[in-house]
């Protein structure tokens, strides 16, 4: 029994040390599959989620070390722009949360809601039409605060292309021309033998 316990203890330590918890996502998104094997970067990643109903969510990380508080800085700029004040505690809390998608006026309530189910109810999607283009400002300020951030798009397979295009146009307006489309990997082997016969 002792060797087994030893092994278990070892495994447990290994898993505890290597684990990085799956970040909570704003919505259930079933991404399409591709053959790409490239991995998404761990840090400096701005992610835009598009769910199947066309709701848009936004997420950005804090950068690779704990000294950079990108999220709080971005929120400060947003708050200035929309004339909403947040307390220091709210900035701090916001820095520790993940993806969000709601008008800025509801963000305060989202930050202060403790229960995650109640918090999810506030996720109604980011406004991004021409009258109130908040997503555009989030992207703009994220680009200013963290110019190294790459952009990842995580769209649901059944999301309408028109919305994806709208988001892409917005990003291109902010001089982002390289997108990482998040997909599930699905291997597909195509070799010379798959070439159709030559027609003459």
């Amino acid at each position: 029994m002792t060797p087994m316990v030893d092994l278990f203890a070892l495994l447990l330590t290994f898993f505890m040390l290597t684990t990085s918890f799956r970040p909570q996502e704003a919505a259930i998104i079933d991404s399409p599959s591709s053959i790409s094997e490239k991995q998404a970067p761990d840090f400096n990643l701005m992610t835009i989620f598009i769910d199947k109903e066309g709701k848009v969510f936004f997420n950005i990380d804090n950068g690779m070390d704990t000294s950079t508080h990108y999220r709080a800085e971005i929120l400060k700029k947003m708050a200035e722009r929309y004339k909403i004040t947040f307390t220091e505690k709210e900035y701090d809390l916001f820095g520790r949360l993940s993806g969000f998608g709601m008008p800025l006026k509801d963000l305060k309530a989202w930050i202060n809601t403790k229960d995650s189910k109640d918090r999810d109810k506030l996720q109604v999607g980011m406004p991004m039409d021409s009258t109130d283009n908040q997503l555009g400002y989030w992207i703009l300020y994220s680009r200013i605060v963290n110019p190294q951030a790459e952009v990842a798009l995580k769209g649901d397979a059944n999301a309408h292309y028109t919305i994806v295009k709208k988001v892409m146009d917005l990003l291109q307006g902010n001089k982002v021309n390289k997108f990482n489309l998040i997909t599930n990997m699905q291997k597909e082997e195509v070799g010379i033998k798959d070439l159709p016969l030559e027609q003459k």
């Binding site: 029994m1 087994m4 316990v5 278990f8 203890a9 495994l11 447990l12 898993f15 505890m16 290597t18 684990t19 990085s20 918890f21 799956r22 991404s31 399409p32 599959s33 591709s34 053959i35 790409s36 094997e37 490239k38 991995q39 998404a40 761990d42 598009i50 990842a152 995580k154 769209g155 649901d156 397979a157 059944n158 999301a159 309408h160 292309y161 028109t162 994806v164 295009k165 892409m168 291109q172 307006g173 021309n177 390289k178 997108f179 990482n180 489309l181 998040i182 997909t183 599930n184 990997m185 597909e188 195509v190 070799g191 010379i192 798959d194 070439l195 159709p196 030559e198 027609q199």
Partner: protein, 226 residues
């Protein structure tokens, strides 16, 4: 019987002293093991083992201020792929322009014998070249680093002068997965040059006419709403 009793007594007498020594070996570890098992399972399940995979696309830069001269592409090499909802894919060769014979629209799909077969057929030379290079590497005939391999493939794609130039156009009913699927096909078939562009009105009309069973024979009149 008496003998046994004496033996028992002897054991009892001795046990008072021995108990202290025997005790440590008799710890019941089962609950601890149970707990560890549980924790291991928990950590294994919550660990984000596979990081998400990404597909990188680079879009042409948008420059509204000055209309840059459009790069000339030969109509022969141009292949237009039109995406519409319900996994429908249409394609046509060349260009739909007034004063020229109307290109014929062909319907296809995302299955193995659909659009991929057509793309492979068009991109035969380049695909063969890259596939042979990859096979050589896999069988160990040549040994190159990953970065060199990627660089060489890139170079091959750059040099290619025969393969199609694919223009991907999606209409309003297209879904996100259609775009991802078609870009994926580009990667599978090693297409050297492709771009996602906006759909033209005439192309929407072509799809409409094709669905109605009356493919356009000549360039339709388009009302310009400006």
């Amino acid at each position: 019987m008496a003998e046994i009793q004496t033996e028992e007594k002897a054991v009892k007498k001795g046990s008072k002293k021995k108990r202290a020594k025997k005790h440590p070996t008799a710890i019941d570890m089962t609950p601890m093991v149970d707990l560890m098992c549980l924790l291991i399972t928990f950590f294994m399940l919550t660990t984000a083992f596979s990081k998400p995979k990404v597909m990188v696309i680079t879009m042409p830069e948008k420059d509204n201020k000055e209309q840059k001269e459009q790069p000339k592409i030969s109509a022969e090499r141009t292949l237009n792929i039109l995406l519409s909802g319900n996994d429908e894919v249409f394609y046509y060769k060349g260009q739909a322009a007034p004063g020229k014979p109307m290109p014929q629209l062909v319907k296809s799909d995302f299955s193995k014998d659909g659009i991929r077969k057509m793309l492979l057929d068009r991109n035969r030379d380049l695909f063969k070249k890259i596939a042979e290079y990859r096979d050589k590497r896999l069988t160990g005939q040549i040994v190159v680093a990953d970065s060199t391999f990627d660089e060489t493939v890139k170079e091959m794609k750059k040099e290619d002068k025969k393969g199609p130039i694919v223009l991907i156009k999606a209409d309003t009913s297209a879904r996100y997965k259609d775009i991802v699927n078609i870009i994926d096909e580009m990667a599978i078939c090693n297409i050297a040059s492709y771009a996602i562009v906006d759909i033209a009105q005439v192309e929407e009309m072509m799809i409409g006419a094709f669905r109605a069973g009356t493919p356009l024979r000549e360039f339709p009149k388009i009302k310009v709403n400006k």
